[in-house]
Amino acid sequence: MFGRRIDRLGVAAFVVFMALLPLVFPGNYLIGVLTVSVIYGIWAVSWDFMSGLTGRENFGHSLFIGVGAYTAGFMNTSFGLNGWWSLPAAMLVAMLFALLIGLPTLRLKGPYFALAMLSGAVIMQRLMLIFWEQTGGEEGINGLEPLIRSQLGFYYFALAALCAITALLALLARSHWGLILRAIKGDEATCQAAGINVTLYKIVSLIISAAFAGAGGAMYAHYQLQVSPQLFAVVTSITIITMVYVGGMGSIYGPVGGAILLVLLTELLRRFGEWRLMIYSVTLILILFFLPNGLIAPIWRRVRATWERRT
């Protein structure tokens, strides 16, 4: 799938590095941080597939994450279903929400989609608090069962999921389908004139993106063993968007690196406590101004270019 040898080497190095890290530095703390970073990777890559490729920015990815997590919470605690049912169910519910918001907004030009996603996430968070009798309010849902008892086992499962999802989305992004998405970003009117059903492509991409975000939400729920309305917060979406920007928008592999890098850096910033989110938002502004192409994807392109010159 990755045509060039250097890309295959890079992927292999990344997977081996991520897999060996918890073995070299054992301890549940590091495993926990890495698990969270891998789940953020899933969210970032799923955001990038829709928004990075088509240029239609989604300001409410947390909506899909939240509904995925709450689906997992309800299925596991209220209905007592096995945790593995959560993943497909969360994907389905998230896809439904994507359809609901995508259908009226993605056929329009302008900022309607971005704002409708933001509104959707804000309102869902409010609803979780307002209907606290069903949703547990501020506390959320507690007492979920872990998918895999061993922490390390779950980390490897999440890492495998991240690799599979990234590979699938990278494959899609390189296919005919991905080409059309990029063309939509370039010039939507021309695509329409060429007889491409632009709206259909955008909606299906959003549904794919939502499915993986929902799955990530369910995984996060089964990892934290609880679900809270904070998952719907705008901050969650902004964090993901910052990760994608750091990684390089539209490159699929970049956002994965951006997510892992930022989660690990955030751990180092832990002693700044309350200042963490402030640092995040200021970082985003600085990146928008000074590094519009991101950090990871451009660096990797440079590495690839030097490698190819040498061989």
Binding site: W275, L284, F289
Partner: protein, 284 residues
């Protein structure tokens, strides 16, 4: 019945003040400013800070707060938004990031607990057989006056004509020698001042806390979609519709469901008539 009529009018008035500024800056500069709700929050916090911490009289504190927020809005437009104006999405991103920075700054300086903004009038008035807080009636009155003044300003003054001209055709306006960048600054200042005034007036009866910018931006978006992006009469009409719809749902069904009204209205309008009631051509 009387209560629904008045409470609905008050929330409509607050919504109208927010939505008119939001739609004005879009209609003129094509900027969708997600930091608009933050101006509202900053207005309320400014009034709180000047009266509670610096012990100023409320009238002075309120005026100072509005002026500072307007200046801040102009600064944000000049430094952060103007270089990004080429791409609408970059503007959305940067203004959302600004909103988050403001939320965090408020959180770090004032903490997350609710703050009390003092009211200009504390007495209650009896209308028919219901008691209505003076702060609410004042909010209604002031917002009608402010929006009326804005309307006169746009229709009657030279700067107002320039605003109209740019909103109708930015390129032609530039050819006529209208300094569009300076007009954008004026409009941004006006829009931020209106939002700040809304925050100060609503502060006494709504919660003042760092995340208070979020719901207003959602409501403003719903109103602007229903009324038509860029249309001031449209957003006033839509603000009335949303304000009353929410109040009626709140009184007849349950206050829990009021939050859904705005999202439903947005989605329905986008399905039925994406241009909004007043469409895009009738900008003012």
């Amino acid at each position: 019945m009387v209560e629904i009529l008045i409470v609905g009018a008050v929330s409509s008035a607050i919504y109208a003040m927010l939505a008119v500024g939001f739609t004005l800056i879009f209609g003129v500069a094509r900027v969708l400013n997600l930091a608009h709700g933050s101006f509202y929050a900053l207005g309320a916090y400014g009034a709180y800070f000047f009266t509670s911490t610096l012990k100023m009289p409320l009238a002075l504190g309120a005026l100072l707060s509005v002026a500072l927020v307007a200046a801040f809005g102009i600064g944000v437009e000049r430094v952060l938004i103007r270089p990004m104006r080429k791409s609408q999405l970059a503007v959305l991103m940067i203004s959302l990031a600004v909103a988050l920075v403001i939320e965090q700054a408020l959180f770090l300086t004032f903490g997350s607990e609710y703050r009390n903004v003092p009211a200009f009038v504390d007495t209650k008035f009896r209308i028919g057989h219901v008691d209505i807080g003076g702060a609410r009636l004042l909010a209604l009155g002031v917002s009608v006056v402010l929006i009326g003044a804005l309307w006169l300003f746009i229709q009657k003054t030279r700067v107002g004509s320039a605003i109209l001209a740019i909103s109708q055709d930015p390129v032609a306006a530039q050819y006529m020698g209208i300094p569009s960048d300076r007009i954008f600054a004026v409009v941004m200042g006006l829009s931020a001042a209106l939002a700040a005034a809304a925050g100060i007036l609503a502060g006494p009866f709504l919660t003042v806390q760092p995340t208070m910018w979020l719901l207003p931006i959602v409501k403003a978006f719903a109103i602007v979609v229903v009324g038509g992006l860029g249309s001031i009469p449209g957003s006033i009409l839509a603000a009335l519709m949303l304000g009353y719809a929410e109040t009626i749902v709140g009184y007849t069904v349950s206050t829990s469901w009021t939050e859904i009204v705005s999202v439903l209205a947005t989605l329905l309008m986008l399905v039925i008539r994406p241009a909004g009631i007043f469409g895009r051509r009738a900008a003012f």
